[in-house]
């Protein structure tokens, strides 16, 4: 009964917020109908989609792919190092763990595009700020999930290795890495899927890739070109997702067979 009242209360507040928000947005009939007319004109000029300079667009799309690959690579490498210090069972001191985890939380909460803008100011235009922005943004998420994966490993393995006198390096490479391998692989692939989406739009602020072509076309009001480039982005993401899924399946298949034998 009490739960019911709570649900209705939440629903009431949600509805009130909805009304207030609508008022804030300042919708009016004229504005909507004007937007509708303009929208129809734009949709009309979008069809058929076209790409006036295919080789430029293809190069830009590949640059997005490259930015995503390198951003993920550096994100994974740095996250692995930081995760060892962030995981409660491996960290040299718990304050180090707290510090690394809060750093990751801050980095994660700032959106990738804002990182891109900051890096553009710091290192200039081009793919480099895009790579660095994606790497930093990936670190925010990967440190957290890697550290959780490390915290879940069997502490017995770590203790046994320590008692044989293994160095910290040996501990990481022979005890921790093999046990967290499957979590490592699946999270890294997941992050790559996210990064390719970001890489597609980083160009909007000037950090390399196909986003720049999109902004250029929309500034020139070349809507059929906008639609064409949007479709290229769509196919790029589709292809990348399917390829990563295929690779992941092959890896899973291989490791599943070892479990069975």
């Amino acid at each position: 009964m009490k739960k019911n009242i709570k649900v209705w209360l939440v629903a009431g507040v949600a509805f009130l917020l909805f009304i207030l928000s609508l008022a804030q947005l300042g919708l009016s009939r004229e504005r909507l109908s004007a937007a509708y007319d303009r929208g129809m004109v734009i949709v009309d000029s979008m069809i058929p989609p076209s790409v006036s300079n295919p080789s430029n667009v293809a190069t830009a799309a590949l640059e997005s792919l490259h930015v995503a690959v390198l951003g993920t690579l550096f994100g994974v490498v740095f996250s692995l190092i930081l995760a060892v210090f962030a995981a409660r069972n491996l960290t040299p001191h718990f304050t180090v763990s707290v510090a690394v985890k809060s750093f990751a939380a801050f980095v994660r909460a700032v959106p990738a595009l804002i990182w891109a803008i900051l890096f553009i100011i710091a290192v200039g235009l081009g793919p480099t700020p895009g790579i660095l922005a994606l790497a930093v943004n990936s670190i925010g998420m990967l440190v957290k999930v890697y550290a959780e994966a490390i915290e879940e490993i069997d502490i017995g393995i770590v203790e046994a290795m320590k008692s044989t006198g293994a160095s910290p390096m040996q501990l990481v490479f022979q005890g921790v890495l093999p046990t967290m391998m499957s979590a490592l692989v699946s999270w890294s692939i997941f992050r790559f899927d996210i990064n390719i989406r970001y890489a597609a739009i980083l160009g909007i602020v000037g950090a390399g890739g196909i986003g720049w072509e999109l902004v250029r076309a929309s500034r020139m009001a070349a809507y059929s070109e906008v639609m064409g480039i949007t479709l290229v982005i769509f196919f790029m993401i589709l292809v990348v997702e399917n390829v990563t899924r295929l690779l992941k399946k092959r890896l899973d298949l291989a490791s599943m067979e070892t479990v069975r034998s």
Binding site: V10, P127, I204
Partner: protein
């Protein structure tokens, strides 16, 4: 003596049988690990090739990592800090706009996704073909980032938060439509059959059999979308689609980095606050 030889023979043949089995197992194991190593090697080579290709094409140098991190640290300390809090009043309206965009975007996405989800789920869709069409539409919407929608919608609606709201709403259907359809497909068919057997209409089946099983997932995903929306709403302003990104962008363009630092901190605070509120709401409803 005779008995003993018989025993030895039995033991010997047993031993040979066991050895044969072990050999077989060993061979199977080595075949599998060979296959596994081959698969891993193949994937490794592909990944390595991708990395090398990307490295060469973007003309990336390892030194960029150090100089880049050095530059950004330098930029943080010298230009960004300390944040200029005197601009807080100017950021008030953009903050409200951002929250409004995220919230209305969520409501719009939820309403559209309910329709799309029911029509895309194979067990509630009126026809297989309808389900296929709606699944495809939802995947298309999901594959195009919200910022791209924003860019197109700004041309139609002009600069401002209306374009951003609709962009968030449309791209939200890509995520929520798929989530809702997947949840509906996983519900217990027994209850649906039971209600259908009483001669209930399609809408009655949805309300009586589908909704009670669907509600928990519905609430959780909708609130999760709200968490995501606040991030998207914060950056949509970079292309002029309203919200705090507009103010942030103009501060950066005018080289007022200390003002921009305040903006970034506000975005950070908004994301944390919204995540806290949605988790409270989730707990009180579920």
């Amino acid at each position: 003596m005779v008995v003993k030889t018989g025993q030895t023979d039995a033991i010997r043949s047993n031993r040979e049988k066991t050895l044969g089995k072990v050999d077989q197992l060993l061979e199977r194991h080595s075949n599998r690990s060979k296959r596994m190593n081959r698969e891993r090697g193949l994937v490794g080579v592909i990944v390595l090739a991708l990395v090398v290709w990307s490295w060469v094409m973007t003309e990336f140098k390892l030194s960029f990592l150090w100089s880049g991190l050095g530059n950004i640290a330098n930029f943080f300390v010298n230009d960004l800090l300390p944040p200029d809090f005197s601009v807080l009043p100017r950021y008030l309206q953009p903050v409200i706009d951002t929250l409004v965009m995220s919230y209305l975007g969520m409501v719009m996405a939820v309403i559209l996704s309910l329709v799309a989800g029911v029509l895309a789920a194979s067990n509630t869709s009126p026809h297989k073909f309808v389900a296929f069409i709606f699944r495809s539409i939802v995947s298309f919407l999901r594959a195009i980032p919200a910022l791209v929608w924003g860019l197109v919608l700004v041309s139609a609606f002009g600069l401002g938060s209306l374009a951003g709201t609709i962009a968030i709403g449309i791209s939200g259907v890509g995520i929520l439509g798929k989530a809702f359809a997947d949840i509906i497909e996983e519900i217990d068919e027994g209850q649906v059959e039971g209600v259908k057997a009483t001669g209930a209409s399609w809408l009655q089946v949805l309300g009586r059999a589908v909704w009670p099983q669907f509600m928990a997932g519905f609430v959780a995903w909708s609130l999760y979308k709200m968490d995501l929306n606040i991030r998207e709403a914060a950056v949509l302003g970079l292309i002029g689609a309203g919200g705090i990104g507009v103010a942030l962008n103009s501060s950066i363009k005018l080289f007022q980095y200390q003002e921009a630092a305040t903006g970034i901190l506000i975005i950070f605070a908004m994301i944390i606050a919204v995540e806290y509120i949605t988790s409270r709401v989730r707990k009180s409803i579920l």
